[in-house]
């Protein structure tokens, strides 16, 4: 991916991190600085790994799975 796009993404996230301190926390976790940055990263990785694991465990089958009896 283009380097400029990475810089833009980084800039937006840094901006949002600064903006965080202007808001009033509605939930306990919003008192943790950068909570959604951590949640976003760990959540995305976890979703990918868990779905892959479940896929290998029992979800994914051969394409002719339903044709063979």
């Amino acid at each position: 991916m283009n380097r400029n796009l990475w810089i833009a993404l980084g800039a937006v996230i840094v901006l949002s991190f600064i903006a965080e301190f202007t808001r009033k926390a509605h939930h306990w976790w919003e008192n943790i600085p950068g909570f959604y940055i951590i949640f976003g990263f760990i959540g995305a990785i976890a979703l990918i790994l868990i779905s892959r694991y479940l896929g290998k465990l029992f979800i994914q089958k051969n394409e002719d799975y339903y044709d063979v009896q």
Binding site: I13, T22, Y36, I37, G43, I45, S51, K61, E63
Partner: protein, 574 residues
């Protein structure tokens, strides 16, 4: 007075289904969009209230009931029929056009139905017309999927009708009003019947089974009507039923995990639909004015961007002939318009600010927060990141970017496809930037401001880091030649068992009975062939009757006559 010459919105679509085949062939595609346009017009000039009632078997059926809620759903159903009609302008298949009009008519009839029986009739019209849009693909897979689709929906319709009949026989009103949570069997059956159409697990597998196998244009209509009409009925009947929060939360994650594993690009979108409808179901379950408004707004937004996504992936299938993620790749340079418009829809569904998914999804997430369903709120945020992963990143990356595996477009997408997608994308952006255009018409009494610092911070940070996560692990999300097995396993893989129980055993019973019946008939026939044999102790083995064998000799008769003659003669001489 007004009701006596009021034509309900569905009338124009149903009439269209009859008129369209009578028109000259070159006019059919063009006139298709006139019918939903007329419906849209009627929806917006209709006053609120019961506008058309019909007496039927001692009941008064309310065929057209208009209020703020039904108007919102009616509007988006009519609008998407117009957009889908533009997209399908190239199509020369009268069967599909008629089925699409009937299907849209069924959906409009459902949302304007004022009573249970009218609702049920339109519910079934939707099921049958949708089945045709699957069969019209005319492949072996679509034939099987269509059969499963109609069987599952007949089962769901049966649940709904049983619930309705129990509800009526228990003294319930025919009118469609909120159902009280009394744990009665009728309310549970109705809920199950509606939940099946809303694709709530484990009753959801029909959706991901059927939509990827439907026709290119059929999938655009399919993704719009059935589940959203069910969400409408949930809002009408079951607001605030907390079980729906759990059901909806399960839906959002179930859809996410399967969409990350699916191989067919339209199957990814089908699972992402289940995930998105989960948000609406959670909204209904929370049941506050804000949450219900969120469910309505999200249904409205979802129909726009999900149709756009199905149109774009349909265009890929139409031009390349395949929709398998592992065979596609690197198509962006051939399909700039398609990939651009797809990304508008994909960023909308992912909840990127200033697109219409953000303004409706954040309403439901916020409503969950206000009502202190914090676990549900987390699940929804997680599913939102998952949506960005599969629909916003995985699908476009491996279809239009990444390496090309040799599949190239064989033909250009017709201009009408691009125009249809453009209209849908226009509305995604319009409502995303000016949410008040949509919020003004929401039926429930709650105000919401989407563009606040906390909402923007949450969206930017979670989605931004999801992108980073995707980039690091994108190799694990490439398409694989495998299919995800879902709860349809229970009626697909167990086919031999079902076959044995419901077909072979029944056949065996009737076959045996037939053999026995014929044997019995034959034995009776042996009796009736020569009944005399049994009365006369005939020892002969000849079973057929022969008159000569039992004929008494002439002499006996002569002897009797002689005896009588003698008797009378003797008597005369005395």
């Amino acid at each position: 007075m007004f009701s006596s010459f009021y034509l309900p919105p569905f009338f124009f679509l149903m009439a269209g289904a009859i008129i369209l085949p009578l028109l000259p062939k070159f006019l059919r595609s063009g006139s298709f969009i006139l019918f939903p346009l007329l419906s849209l017009l009627v929806i917006w000039i209709s006053p609120f209230g019961d506008l058309l009632t019909v007496g039927f078997a001692g009941y008064t059926l309310t065929v057209a009931h208009v209020d703020g809620l039904s108007r919102m759903f009616g509007t988006i159903f009519a609008l998407i029929t117009i957009i889908g009609g533009v997209y399908a302008y190239y199509l020369e298949d009268t069967g599909q056009q008629v089925a699409a009009l009937l299907y849209a008519g069924g959906a409009l009839g459902t949302v304007f139905a004022g009573d249970f029986l009218t609702l049920f009739i339109f519910w079934e019209i939707m099921a049958f017309s949708a089945t045709y849009l699957i069969w019209a693909r005319r492949t072996k897979e679509s034939e099987g999927a269509g059969f499963r689709y109609v069987l599952v929906h007949l089962f769901g319709g049966g649940l709904l009708l049983s619930g309705i009949l129990l509800h009526l026989s228990g003294g319930g009103s025919l009118e469609l009003t909120q159902i009280i949570r009394d744990g009665s069997l009728s309310s549970r059956l109705i809920l199950l019947g509606v939940a099946l159409n809303a694709a709530v697990p484990p009753l959801h597998a029909w959706l991901a089974d059927a939509y990827p196998k439907a026709t290119v244009t059929g999938a655009v209509f399919l993704c719009a009507f059935t589940t959203k009409a069910a969400v409408y009925v949930l809002i009408r009947l079951f607001p605030g039923w907390e079980i729906l929060i759990i059901a909806g939360a399960v839906m959002t994650l179930w859809g996410t995990i399967y969409a990350l594993l699916s191989r067919d690009i339209r199957e990814i979108l089908a699972y992402s639909t289940i995930s998105q409808v989960g948000y609406m179901v959670v909204g209904v379950g929370i049941g506050t004015q804000l949450a219900l408004n969120g469910a309505v707004a999200h249904a409205f937004s979802h129909i726009l961007y999900k149709s756009l996504l199905f149109m774009a992936t349909g265009a890929v299938l139409y031009t390349t002939g395949t929709s398998k993620l592992d065979q596609l790749g690197g198509l962006a340079k051939y399909q700039r318009w398609i990939v651009g418009l797809y990304l508008v829809g994909a960023f909308s569904i992912s909840g990127i600010p200033f697109l219409n998914g953000f303004i409706s999804k954040s309403m439901i997430v916020s409503a969950a927060g206000y009502s202190h369903y914090e676990a549900a709120m987390f699940v929804l945020m997680l599913a939102s990141m998952g949506t960005f992963l599969h629909t916003g990143l995985r699908l476009p990356y491996y279809t239009w970017f990444g390496a090309n595996w040799g599949v190239r477009p064989k033909k250009e997408a017709p201009t009408c496809m691009i125009v249809g997608m453009g209209i849908a994308a226009f509305f995604c952006i319009l409502f995303g930037i000016f949410p008040s255009l949509l919020y003004t018409w929401l039926p429930f009494d709650a105000t919401y401001r989407p563009f606040t610092v906390p909402h923007l911070v949450e969206a930017v940070q979670t989605l931004g880091l999801t992108f980073v996560g995707f980039w690091l692990m994108k190799d694990r999300l490439a398409g694989e030649p495998a299919i995800p097995v879902d709860t349809d396993w229970f009626y697909r893989k167990t086919k031999p068992v079902f076959w044995a129980v419901f077909v072979r055993s029944v056949n065996f019973f009737f076959d045996t009975m037939e053999v026995k019946a014929i044997a019995f008939a034959r034995s009776v026939a042996v009796l009736s062939k020569n009944p005399v044999r049994f009365f006369m102790h005939d020892e002969s083995t000849d079973t057929t009757y022969s008159a000569n064998r039992y004929r008494k000799p002439m002499s006996v008769i002569l002897f009797v006559i002689l005896v009588i003659f003698v008797v009378f003669a003797v008597r005369g001489t005395l």
